[in-house]
């Protein structure tokens, strides 16, 4: 037996790496997908407003919370072979299922709109007309799903998602003070000073940039579509961790890229992608500004693909129609129609002249944070359901971490409520 094992290792020296390469995907996609246009703009706004300090470790901390949540979806998907919406309907009934779906549909649609705003404004930096930019974005979403195989779709989207790394060279061109970055990571200082309401809004936006309901629904369905089994949970955890590491590095890079605006006292509170890139040009050069604009475009494209797929998975699961990227277009047309329909509706809205898009941009990440506690409650109940999970139920530590994340999000929401009802409480 020992001999046989050694023979196996000799013939496949990279066997473990090859298996990992085959199994990674949903975790990286979900985190790089969540590094979407509004998220990167929220990190950029944070860097421009507060510079290097408290928010750098805070952004990393939000990704740790993201790992705690998403790891549970890997186990749920691998053990039950069911999507999240399907499980909620099965175990809690239609009444709670439709409540849960309404949060998802509202959040997903608003987020999709912001992705197309990101696509439009990102390409706007290069002088591309809005109709062409948005139409091109739709064409890429369509091209990704015509492959008829989950595997091909996943590799194409992963290939696009890796361009989220464009924020790294943009950050390097901004020449950040790495000692100050290290100091901030260790001490969480200097603390943000100034308008309390603005600080709270950025805190909520940065949390909403990392933990959102669509991620739960998407990763669990993708794990099922990929055909992962309980024996693949370890690889699924690694995949999720890899996604966390890449996405947190790219998110912090977006924050660092805009720090020159903080040092030069430029008010970035009303900036969108193209404006950020334009404003950064004198300090990080044309190449840096172009990388930043391209990064926003890429973030919008990948998220548009992932979020429209998340809506389609949930629709297919709830209405018991074919819901797999492994199915051809004609067999699973309701699934693909939902996917394309939601993307087209969001893209169309972005092209309407004088549409109140500021409303969407202002609220999308905040709504994500506020809708998260009920989504987490369902997730925690399911992952502690021995009838569903068997031996894979949450351990004591996993429950403690999950409850801590839920309470943290509820506290952030309550603080937002106080700040809205009593505007002077935070010194607005």
């Amino acid at each position: 037996m020992t001999r046989a094992r050694s023979w196996k290792h000799k013939s496949k020296p990279f066997g473990g790496a090859r298996v990992l390469w085959l199994l990674v995907g949903p975790g990286i996609l979900v985190f790089l997908g969540e590094n979407d246009a509004p998220s990167m703009l929220s990190y950029a706004a944070t860097g421009a407003r507060f510079g290097i300090g408290f928010f750098i470790p805070f952004v990393v901390f939000t990704f740790v919370m993201g790992y705690v949540v998403q790891e549970m979806t890997v186990r749920l998907g691998a053990v039950t072979h069911r999507g999240h919406a399907e499980l909620i309907f099965d175990r809690f009934g239609k009444f709670w299922g439709f409540f849960s779906m309404s949060d998802l549909v509202l959040g997903n649609f608003l987020t999709l709109v912001t992705e197309f705003i990101g696509i439009r404004t990102g390409l706007g930096f290069f002088g591309v007309r809005p109709v062409i930019a948005v139409g091109g974005g739709l064409a890429i979403v369509f091209a990704a799903i015509t492959t008829g195989r989950y595997w091909t779709w996943e590799r194409i989207t992963l290939g696009l998602a890796i361009f989220n790394g464009l924020f790294i060279p943009a950050a390097i061109l901004a020449r950040p003070d790495w000692l100050a970055v290290g100091h901030a990571m260790l001490t969480w200082t200097p603390l943000p000073k100034g308008n309390g309401a603005e600080i709270l809004l950025l805190i909520l936006a940065d949390i909403g940039a990392t933990v959102t309901p669509w991620m739960i629904f998407f990763q669990q369905s993708a794990v099922v579509d990929k055909g992962m089994q309980p024996r693949d949970i370890r690889a699924g955890r690694f995949d999720t961790l890899l996604g966390v590491l890449l996405a947190s590095a790219f998110g912090v890079a977006a924050l660092l890229a805009t720090v020159p605006l903080f040092h030069h006292g430029i008010d970035a509170s009303q900036f969108q992608a193209a404006l950020f890139a334009e404003a950064l040009r004198p300090w990080i050069g044309h190449i840096g500004a172009a990388l930043f604009a391209l990064g926003i475009f890429e973030a919008g494209i990948v998220a548009a693909i992932a979020i429209s797929t998340s809506s389609a998975y949930a629709f297919g699961e709830v209405f018991a129609t074919g819901h797999s990227l492994n199915r051809p277009l004609r067999d699973a047309w309701p699934f693909y129609s939902t996917l394309l329909g939601s993307a087209c509706a969001a893209a169309g809205l972005v092209l309407i002249p004088r549409a109140p898009l500021e409303f969407v941009v202002l609220t999308v990440n905040v709504i994500a944070v506020l809708a998260m506690p009920p989504a987490l409650a369902f997730l925690m109940l399911l992952v502690n359901d021995r009838e569903v999970m068997g031996e894979y139920v949450n351990s004591g530590w996993e429950n403690a971490a999950g409850i801590a994340v839920t309470l943290f999000l509820i506290c952030a929401g309550i603080e937002f409520a106080f700040a809205t009802v009593f505007p002077r409480w935070l010194g607005r």
């Binding site: 037996m1 809690f92 099922v224 492994n326 202002l362 009920p374 359901d385 009838e387 009802v421």
Partner: protein
């Protein structure tokens, strides 16, 4: 026994152990069957069975209703804050 013979013997031993392990697979265990299926076969197989609805205790129902009320109140507050922001911008 030269080196080539040793390799052949090791391969044979490996093949025998695999066959022996395959013989021990209990195909009556649904988890084992699921783990042997292809992805699209799993999707088809799972349609044959569903998890039943669980009984929600009073505590769980109170928690779910509480969170539902939380979301409703928060959405109203988001609306208020956005209207304020738009008015102040104008």
């Amino acid at each position: 026994m030269n080196r080539n013979d040793e390799d052949i013997a090791a391969d044979r031993q490996s093949a025998e152990s695999l066959l022996e392990a395959a013989g021990k697979v209990d195909l009556r265990d649904p988890r084992v069957v699921m783990s042997l299926l292809e992805a699209d076969q799993v999707v088809a197989a799972k349609r044959q069975s569903r998890f039943g609805q669980r009984n929600l205790s009073l505590g769980v129902r109170i928690m779910l209703w509480g969170l539902r009320a939380y979301v409703a109140v928060m959405l109203i507050l988001v609306l208020i804050s956005v209207v304020r922001a738009i008015h102040s911008a104008q």
